[in-house]
Symmetry: D2
Subunit: 348 residues, 4 copies
């Protein structure tokens, strides 16, 4: 009997992506999708690429109905909304995977400072497990409540975790330069997502360490390091629909040659099906992971400056959001973590 | 026990796409991939998006070895090469699906006139079944040798078959305007496929009815109509990697209202899992079928001019090539035609 | 002393393009730019590409002020607004070039049927000269009021005028398939102009002869032909910012060989500096005219079907709007029509 | 009487761009263009966007002929070729602007180490003035031989020169993350410039401080600083045709608030017509400088990490190559440096 899942807030890109991925998962049945604004509309009216894939119709969210339709819930809601919906579902005994930023930060005060909104359920924060399976697999397996990582933090943490964990780099002065596709800005039309603004253009935004993913990156890096880490993180908006490329720069603590570094990464991510370490001299292309749950990582040493440069590529909507959410669900319910997720990127 | 397949000429885009799709097919095991130029190289060296998906290594083609490794063969070879390889495999009793244009045309003379090369195996032409499952399903089921349709003809024939079959349009004066993504031009770098040439540009090529897919379109349209049809077909090169959008214009023979036309298309493609007819007022977007085997069709009437306009969208590498080839294979070996192919398009 | 011009409605793309082009025109000084919504804002706040090019500040429109600041006015207003503003400026003795559709159609009833709005100044319609300089140069030279052509009609009329004028084609059954970049949809963000919707996708819209440029195309074609012409016109939205590629199909009335056709086009457009006829076998690429006022035209014959295929490329914002408006202004004030407009397209 | 210029190696992108820009320059006449491989071909055969702009025909290079046709020469040759051609032209008394990397580095040994080729004219190195007009205007004015900067170094040096010059940053640990459009890879088709490889993808290349522009950046930064500077520089290849976006990270030596920093940049680049400093909170978009000679610079402080982040945008073919070359020519011959170069970027 398949697992019944619900997707709350399924009219945005991550919701649509959950539906797409769930349709290819052998053990999932979607029992409930909600989008208050589109109640009564078919999913494939909003997303014609799901025609023939899904016959679902959007409901308005109702806790009672939700409970009768599914057992595991994905919250694909905007920041601020998830914190209102999660408690009811958890209290009713359901498993919840929250894709918003509402429960990623340990400290409600930090949340409020970076997200510019009040946290109305700070007591729940401690109950959420951070859903980055490559680092927290055991905790996820026994969790009922997952806070799914942000798209940038996923690419950044996978890139740097081995170096931090093995104490191979100085934790001071880390520079993280990330490039994202436009789907990260969501489905609502805005001046900044107009085709003519993004097409043919390269730009940065929220420069100066002010993006709300910064404290998330720092918190989990610090957790790995066992000490506080501050990073300089700059996001950029690129003319692609999907993909995040992160180029991270850190000072080597001691010289380790490239072959050993690569071996160390491979060892660190042994048995982690979605992290692939590229051979020496090869670097990730986001297109190679478009639509897929893989993270490709390339490593280089700049011997003249003593820096190590780590480059990671993910699809922001898959490994950076909905694919990772399903990977977490797999672990929570005792399925192989890669079930339904072993798709290659769409190249060319 | 899974079906063992071989892919001959697997270094090009359609070969890589066969590997990608086969990896998600529950009953296929790829036993043999060849690319003479890349003998000994891993598939994921050429195609890093297949890292973690396929451990295959390219072989040089050898008939004896082929026979020991697989039972069904996909020929993803250039035009002119397939006609050299097909006979040996067929004589050895294997099933063969040829993705080239070598066996699509009934008349070797027509082939030679349009493809500008000699046909060295004209006696085989009659033995190939045209692999458009929506029109020739029964013949495909009992075939050993399939000639897989061209990318443009697939989109065109699916768009126009119902109208021709039901004699709803004049067979004179049909205009077919098709737009293709750059992957249709193949993997080899050429001046015409340089990023800077295609990016930001719209252009036509082989204008004036000289594209080699023209006689293929005409032959199968004529076959449906029971009389000779000549069309005016113009291909265009667009700044996308994947996708073909065809806009076909024909004169209505008698007035039929749009709702009835749509109903007729739905009826014509009943039980054809990959053809989806859009509601009135909606038209296909190629991105909605990117990476998928679906064909979306939209229909409009221009009552002022008496024309019907049919628009179809496919992914040239999937429904226009490798996905269709697997659909054909499914039918040939008695599997459900949609097995392993029910993926949604990658949107956004 | 430079000519003082005003741009009414200068916050949209065509307004910004007028400012860009005017900045490179040796005889123009912009004395007045308006955008009620952005009153007090600098032009380069909305359009940073004009930083260093223009120090202008948006005003709210006022007829009195306008008259004190400029002598020639470009109306870059939405349809429906231009008809409110034009009369006052004309009555005050100014020259007016209207880029909207408000005065392109001879018949207010036709306007109302296609634009779905009432025409509040039908008596002015007859006073506007259609500003397609390649066809109406003499009328433009003596005009005070120009109705600047639509973007699609510009590409279509330039492509077909010679054939119609010389009675070389049947005026029945003409098919016009046009592809446009996203800037044609304007600056306001809409679901349909979201980067993720257009990027990587090919689609058609307003299919079935319902685009409001259809009657404009037909009216001026009919004017050239001396008899009523009806066409089947289908616009498409393409993943480029700028450019319109038109592929027009018509039945040859009598056979004329390609070299003679090309010669005829060259002769027809002799002394027309912005229309370039490509050699046999070459077809336009929109990128070659990006940012420029040129129209490139390629011609092919399909001898099997008796059709002639004409392909034209323009930049929808330049030759299809603001460049053409300046070309008209040049003619109206006695300057060489190509003054300030001899820029090459931006390639690569 | 216009200045007669020659372009040696005019079949590549920078050569074509020189022709495009020269066509809009009021005091230049191109007397000579060479491309040995295309001798006898018209420029507009290779570059149809120059149809109607230039009637030039490619010659094979000949020193005698060159001297009779022009007085100032642009060398748009590949690295290694310029060093063969420059001496003859200089000896004959001509002014030479070399766009290659052959004379940018002071030390032939460094050149040979990074460019992997022998320098056959090391004695000429000292005679070339580095053509970055914002830093070396006076030297350029009196020079006969200019080494035009690389595309990346132009964007990097303009971004960082004020901070280094004013000793506001630590010269240790500077990280430079640059993103380039595909035209930087040149006109020849290669696997890496295939549309399908770049479209929809983000990637890095020559990672680890191995790009040949690294020593150029370091040499001129060191020159400004008066002490040796080593940087960590990583280039990336982006899916746009034109544009370089550089994001540079440096540690503030002392805290200076953002307003003062911006004022300092404006002061540093006072009277430099092509460098524009954006207001606080605004960051450059490459599209705003596409086709233009401007460099846009945005500045941010990351107070948490003590870093300053400088972002610059240029068009790699204009300010990063051919536009800058013409700016240098203007200075060399006593014209205003911005003559013929005051074009706005092409947006949208």
């Amino acid at each position: 009997m398949p697992l019944k899942v619900g997707i709350i807030g399924a009219s945005g890109y991550t919701g649509a992506e959950l539906i797409r991925l769930a349709a290819g998962h052998p053990e999932i049945e979607i029992g409930y999708v909600t989008a208050n604004q589109y109640q009564g509309a078919r999913v494939d009216e909003l997303y014609p690429h799901l025609t023939g894939i899904s016959d679902l119709v959007y409901d308005a969210y109702d806790l009672e109905v939700a409970g009768s339709k599914a057992d595991v819930f994905f919250l694909a809601l905007p920041h601020g909304k998830a914190m209102e919906v999660a408690p009811g579902l958890l209290d009713a005994g359901h498993k919840v995977i929250d894709l918003s930023g509402d429960f990623r930060l340990d400290d409600a005060g930090v949340y409020e400072a970076w997200y510019k909104r009040e946290h109305t359920n700070p007591e729940l924060i401690g109950r959420a497990v951070y859903g980055l399976p490559e680092l927290y697999e055991e905790e996820i397996k026994s969790a009922n409540f997952i806070s799914n990582p942000g798209c940038y933090p996923t690419g950044v943490l996978l890139a740097l975790a081995p170096l931090i964990s093995e104490k191979l780099i100085s934790t001071d002065g880390i520079v993280i330069n990330s490039l994202s596709g436009a789907s990260g800005a969501g489905r609502d039309p805005k001046p900044g997502t107009h085709f003519c603004k993004i097409d043919g253009s390269l730009t940065a935004y929220k420069v100066g360490g002010v993006h709300q993913h910064t404290p998330e990156i720092e918190q989990y890096m610090s957790d790995i390091a066992g000490k506080a880490i501050t990073v300089s993180f700059t996001p950029h908006l690129m003319p692609v629909s999907r993909g995040i490329l992160t180029t991270a720069y850190a000072d080597m603590a001691d010289f380790v040659d490239l072959d050993r570094l690569i071996a160390l990464y491979k060892s660190f991510y042994k048995d982690k099906p979605f992290v692939l370490i590229l051979p020496s001299g090869q670097y990730p292309q986001t297109k190679n992971v478009a639509g897929s749950n893989y993270c490709h990582i390339g490593i280089a040493l700049d011997v003249r400056t003593g820096k190590v440069i780590i480059i990671s590529a993910i699809d922001n909507l898959v490994k950076g959001a909905s694919g990772q959410a399903i990977q977490n669900m797999n672990l929570m319910v005792g399925l192989p973590q890669d079930m339904g997720l072993r798709h290659a990127g769409l190249m060319p």
